[in-house]
């Protein structure tokens, strides 16, 4: 690296996006996080200290990527003027379908990261921003749903609805990472059934959807 001041190098060469893209590429090619920030920056020909001006850790980069995919999804569904007219259930469905379109651009990244969740009981650092953004969004959908009488407000439990939808999202993405059907059609069906079920469970309990869903899962093994 030529003898320039650090600040200049940064502005001229390295940006947050570039570091992030380089990191994802490394992760995808290696299949795991680099052993250290030093190793990563050394391979890039970048002073380690500069890395920290953008991110504090690899997890922070990943957190950024996931958070941004969530933000992009929410922005894209909300920018559609028909969306505002939808029922809460349709809003959530639209969200899922749009989200998978966004995730599709980084499917390899998601399929590397997602299985790690199985090993953990708590949300890892790299998913915290994503989760928070989703919970925020889910609360707005739950609010709409309760207002629109689609789901029932229940003492104590209502506060947990957003968490329930978070589990549903985890399921959907997990299903999608393992889906081998063309065009991920089975995930589309899974979303439809999962959302149906959740709204009926939270609204009025009906066994129909449970069986519908159970059969679907049973079948797709």
């Amino acid at each position: 690296m030529p003898a320039k001041t650090k600040a200049k190098t940064t502005s001229a060469k390295w940006t947050k996006e570039k570091v992030r893209d380089a990191y994802i590429k490394t992760l995808l090619l290696e299949g795991k996080q680099p052993n250290s920030v030093f190793k990563f920056t050394d391979d890039l020909g970048m002073p380690e200290s500069e890395f920290y001006t953008f991110y504090s850790s690899f997890d922070a980069i990943e957190n950024d990527v996931f958070k941004e995919m969530m933000a992009e999804t929410i922005k894209s569904v909300q920018s559609d003027k028909a969306y505002a007219e939808f029922s809460a259930q349709e809003k959530l469905l639209t969200f899922y379908y749009a989200h998978l379109q966004v995730l599709l651009a980084k499917r390899s990244f998601v399929t590397i990261k997602w299985p790690e969740l199985k090993k953990r009981a708590t949300t890892p650092d790299w998913l915290k921003g994503y989760k928070e953004a989703f919970l925020n969004y889910a609360r707005s959908v739950v609010g709409d749903a309760i207002q629109g009488d689609e789901i029932k407000e229940r003492p104590f439990i209502s506060d947990k609805y957003d968490k329930a939808f978070w589990l549903q999202l985890m399921f959907v993405v997990d299903y999608w990472t393992k889906d081998t059907s063309a065009d991920f059609e089975r995930t589309d069906a899974a979303i439809e059934k999962a959302v149906n079920l959740s709204f009926q469970l939270l609204g009025d309990t009906t066994i129909d959807s449970i069986i519908d869903f159970a059969k679907f899962l049973w079948q797709s093994k």
């Binding site: 939808f86 089975r186 439809e192 149906n196 959807s209």
Partner: protein, 446 residues
């Protein structure tokens, strides 16, 4: 669900416990949960319930849930219930009543399908598009759309349907076995046939191609109306065609049309099938009332070519040689034909042969009856009671049930189903039809 429960009675005449159970698991949604519990409870208590019994119980339980679904297993059950009239009327009714109950596709999923398949949302493709489905098709649903002043019907397929056909069939197998009382090995050839048709039904590209072909070839027929199809708005999961304005067949029947109109529609229906069977040798094998629309100027609109059975030359010849009026009187010739059509099996004793000859004689005489009539009255209740009566008799007959081998060619499934469906619809229309087939003009020589 409460309404459905009422269908579970009327089991007095059912011969075996298998049948009893079989009839129970259709259309009793509310019972389902309980059955599930029972099943698991039984397994917990008894531990190693006999493997067979477990499979059977399992099949039934699963069937319970299947009856709640838009699944192909149900279609199989329906089809088998129609086949050969082997199942008594009561069961056939139950199967037909079992409606596909899965919730309709959400609008966001329809949009998603459009995005993936056409790269645009429905609103971008059409001037208007109904967010709600206006009709359920067997493996999809129909939306109404408008483009440049034209009203269109847009059929959208449920995602993952093609995938689930095979596994549904695996579920249907044990049920079919217990219903038909035939050996698994013998059932194989029938299930293969059914599976092939069902898989074809999920192939919208094939359906589009066939729809265009058949409607073009049937252009010369009188009093029928076909929609125009739009390949540019069709994909493996979407078919777009003209919207045919009118009443659904049963709806139209309920308006109590005059006899002349009934006959006209009935004749159009008969001619349409006659032309397909004898000229095209490929037949719309799903004569379900829902596939027909009567327009305001009393034309027969035909809207669904999902299930098309191509009739192989050999089978065609054998089948119609068997159906020729008066054939059962020519004993020896008739016996030879039955053998050729695989109705007799190598292991049959003389007694069995005589017994089955009797049954088949009556079946052929009865089912071939319209072929000899220039004005067959399909409203004739007596005729249909005879048909159902024979079916009941066969199903209740110990000797027939004891002989648990499958008889007849695999191709017969769909041809029989077609005729049976056709007769049923004509009965419901109450039409008097020239249903004579001039056998001297058919090329039936080997």
């Amino acid at each position: 669900m409460a309404i459905k429960m009422s269908h579970t009675k009327e089991q007095d005449s059912i011969p075996t416990s298998k049948m009893q159970r079989a009839s129970k698991f259709v259309g009793t949604g509310a019972k389902m949960g309980k059955n599930y519990l029972k099943y698991y409870a039984k397994r917990l208590v008894e531990g190693d319930t006999g493997r067979d019994e477990l499979d059977e119980a399992n099949a039934e339980d699963i069937y319970n849930s299947l009856s709640q679904l838009k699944g192909s297993a149900l279609k199989v059950a329906q089809m088998i219930s129609m086949d050969e009239n082997l199942l008594p009327k009561a069961y056939a009714q139950k199967f037909q009543m079992a409606q596909y109950n899965a919730p309709p596709l959400s609008y966001p999923l329809v949009v998603n399908t459009f995005r993936k398949q056409l790269g645009k949302t429905p609103d971008q493709v059409f001037d208007t598009f109904s967010q709600r489905a206006v009709n359920a098709a067997s493996i999809g649903q129909v939306h109404k759309a408008e483009l440049n002043g034209k009203t269109l019907a847009v059929k959208v397929q449920y995602p993952g349907v093609a995938d689930s056909v095979s596994s549904d069939l695996r579920l249907a197998r044990p049920i079919a076995l217990s219903l038909m009382n035939i050996k698994a090995k013998d059932l194989e050839k029938y299930l293969e046939e059914v599976e092939a048709r069902l898989l074809e039904e999920t192939d919208y590209e094939l359906e589009l191609k066939r729809s265009i072909e058949i409607t073009e070839k049937c252009n010369g027929l009188k009093n029928v109306k076909f929609p125009k199809y739009y390949p540019e708005f069709s994909t493996p999961r979407i078919i777009t065609m003209d919207w045919i304005e009118g009443k659904h067949l049963m709806e139209w029947v309920n308006t109590n049309p005059d006899q002349e109109t009934r006959n006209k529609i009935g004749q159009a229906l008969w001619d349409f099938y006659d032309f397909q069977i004898h000229t095209l040798r490929a037949v719309h094998a799903d004569p379900h009332p829902g596939n027909f629309i009567i327009t305001d100027d009393n034309l027969l609109g035909i809207i669904d070519f999902g299930c098309v059975k191509e009739i192989p030359e050999d089978f065609y010849k054998e089948y119609f040689r068997l159906m020729e009026p008066g054939i059962t009187a020519r004993k020896e010739y008739f016996l030879n034909l039955l053998a050729e059509l695989e109705f007799f099996l190598p292991g049959d004793s003389e007694k069995e042969k005589t017994y089955f000859t009797g049954i088949f004689t009556r079946m052929v005489d009865l089912l071939g009856k319209p072929f000899d009539s220039a004005s067959f009255d399909f409203s004739d209740k007596k005729y249909f009671e005879q048909v159902y009566g024979l079916a009941d008799e066969i199903a209740n007959d110990k000797q027939f049930r004891k002989s648990n081998a499958a008889r007849g060619s695999r191709h017969a499934i769909y041809v029989n189903r077609t005729y049976f469906g056709l007769y049923n619809i004509l009965h419901q229309i109450g039409a008097v039809v020239n249903s004579r087939i001039d056998f001297s003009e058919l090329d039936l020589k080997k």
